[in-house]
Symmetry: C2
Subunit: 336 residues, 2 copies
């Protein structure tokens, strides 16, 4: 039986943080190690340029950062294909054919794009590249022949849009060459809140802990965490809900019994924030020390990182070019 | 001294007609034979799909038709590079980078696109691919490093838009890798009117004479030509302005003295339309017989036509891929 194909990936706009770890990286390692899938991890540098077109050096450098994060958390380039979007010409090629199948109205109606346009305050200056990035994303997914796309629950509409395009393409060209994909939403999916507890962890909000952060930085960030603003004295009863320290303990401490005890103690009163934060720091330091150390080692060998990307990209290039040939033949554009 | 690079081409939506011959093909043969230029002739099949997305077989077949027309009129594949757009992945690639540099407002303001949208009656259903085709055209021109683009006077704004993008790209990425191009507008440029005299010759208006038309078809079409509707009897004085037969005589009869005499006779009265049309037929048949016969021969050897396109495309692919590498390096996307 053929293994199901997964496409996943990241925009290389910065090193990866614990939000990525909780929301996707952990899951990728699990999917990889199950041996049941062909997992492709796309470093989406072209897509990153759609709203960072004037910062290509930043994107370029973060290709390495992101790859080091992948390897450090346990992505094995022998088991998963790590590849670079801008080196895969089948992707812009398929994007151009897809653009013929969508009207401007349809593209403008995309809720994710609408929301992001509002957030990014583009006003009337929306770059066309940004407007059409979901189309390029659909091309990524289909050019890899992906069966499964791991996403958060909020990204399911994106998968539906991709499948709409697939059906439209297949109907237009009377073919079945493209296949619909399924969203793979992890059980109990939730986004990790940031240090400030107010929103999801994000580089741009400045509330992130990075996989590369050293112990000192980690400790500083844990100390900054939002707890219970009414928990003024150690003996006061404290609140657990919305308390970032407990959220992180739930996420990272495998000793669930100890976490339950701490919650109870905190609610009763008598457990100070600093003591609690020191405990969390120990838990997190233990959990991420190995990753951080591997990452530190990897950063000494840029040539190796480059070779990982090159080899994965070569593999993905062959795969996507072969498939693009089939797609064009199915369209009736079978010149070669 | 390096030869200047020309990019020109056609959308393969049908065989070429005398409007193409007068407006561009003749000129291409002249430019080619001057030995002063590197001429690239792009068969723009991807662009043709932007408003014919549901007719790829038609586009596919017309790639051969158009190439036979090129060869028949004297384009020599050893001197000019005939190449196929959909086989050159640098073109969609560069298009995607360009799309980041333009806002939706800018793309929608393009006067040619605006006009064509009106003509094609897309209403609110403009395919995004069609909306952005001028961007893809700019990518074609720049990816070939074209210095000169032969266009009609009405297409000069398109060249200005391309140069706007070139300046924007170079300024954004602090480079000079892209160069501005110049419109090459032929002296005394005019569009050949159709048989009906009402508009330019065009396949969709059904008023065209094709290079492939045989003598019988040519004769039939000449007989249909619009003359002077008030010239009812042979002895009546007739009008020369707006009389398609005279327009074509001006375009195709090298014996200018004879044309002057005929005009004088027609205006004076005593020269019948049928006699005049028979004369025009002889002139045109003489002029296009050789082309038609070469084209007939070429149509017997599809393998040769295919090899012409393949070889030209391979050459153009190397050239555009090499240049795309330089472009990406200049952007700071120098992974490979």
């Amino acid at each position: 039986m053929q293994k199901k194909i997964i496409l996943t990936g990241d925009r290389p706009t910065g090193p990866l943080h614990l939000g990525h770890f909780v929301g996707s990286l952990q899951n990728r390692v699990k999917l990889q190690n199950s041996g049941n899938y062909e997992q492709n991890i796309l470093i989406a540098d072209m897509q990153a340029l759609t709203d960072h077109f004037d910062q290509p050096e930043k994107i370029s450098e973060n290709i390495y950062e992101v790859t080091m994060d992948y390897l450090a958390v346990g992505i094995d380039p022998k088991l998963s294909t790590i590849c670079l979007q801008s080196e895969l010409t089948a992707l812009p090629e398929l994007t151009m054919y897809f653009l013929n199948l969508l009207t401007l109205n349809q593209v403008e109606r995309n809720p994710t794009v609408k929301e992001e346009i509002k957030q990014k305050d583009f006003a009337n200056k929306i770059p066309v590249g940004f407007l059409v990035y979901p189309v390029s994303q659909a091309a990524d997914i289909t050019a890899f022949g992906a069966d499964l796309v791991p996403v958060g629950a909020d990204q399911v509409p994106m998968i539906e849009d991709t499948n709409y395009l697939v059906r439209k393409f297949n109907a237009t060209y009377k073919t079945e060459v493209l296949k619909e994909c399924e969203a793979l939403v992890p059980e109990n999916f939730s986004r990790l809140v940031g240090l400030d507890g107010k929103a999801k962890m994000s580089k741009s909000l400045g509330n992130a802990i990075y996989l590369k952060d050293d112990a000192d930085t980690l400790f500083k960030k844990v100390k900054q965490m939002y707890t219970d603003p009414n928990h003024l004295k150690v003996e006061d009863p404290g609140q657990v809900e919305g308390n970032v320290v407990f959220t992180y303990l739930d996420a990272f401490d495998d000793n669930k019994e100890e976490v339950a005890k701490l919650k109870e103690h905190y609610q009763r009163g008598g457990l100070g924030d600093m003591k609690l934060k020191k405990y969390l720091f120990e838990v997190m330091d233990n959990k991420f020390k190995g990753i951080r150390e591997r990452r530190q080692e990897l950063s000494q060998d840029r040539g190796y990182i480059k070779s990982v990307i090159s080899e994965g990209t070569a593999k993905a290039r062959d795969l996507s070019n072969d498939f693009m040939k089939k797609i064009k033949a199915a369209m009736g554009l079978s010149f070669s």
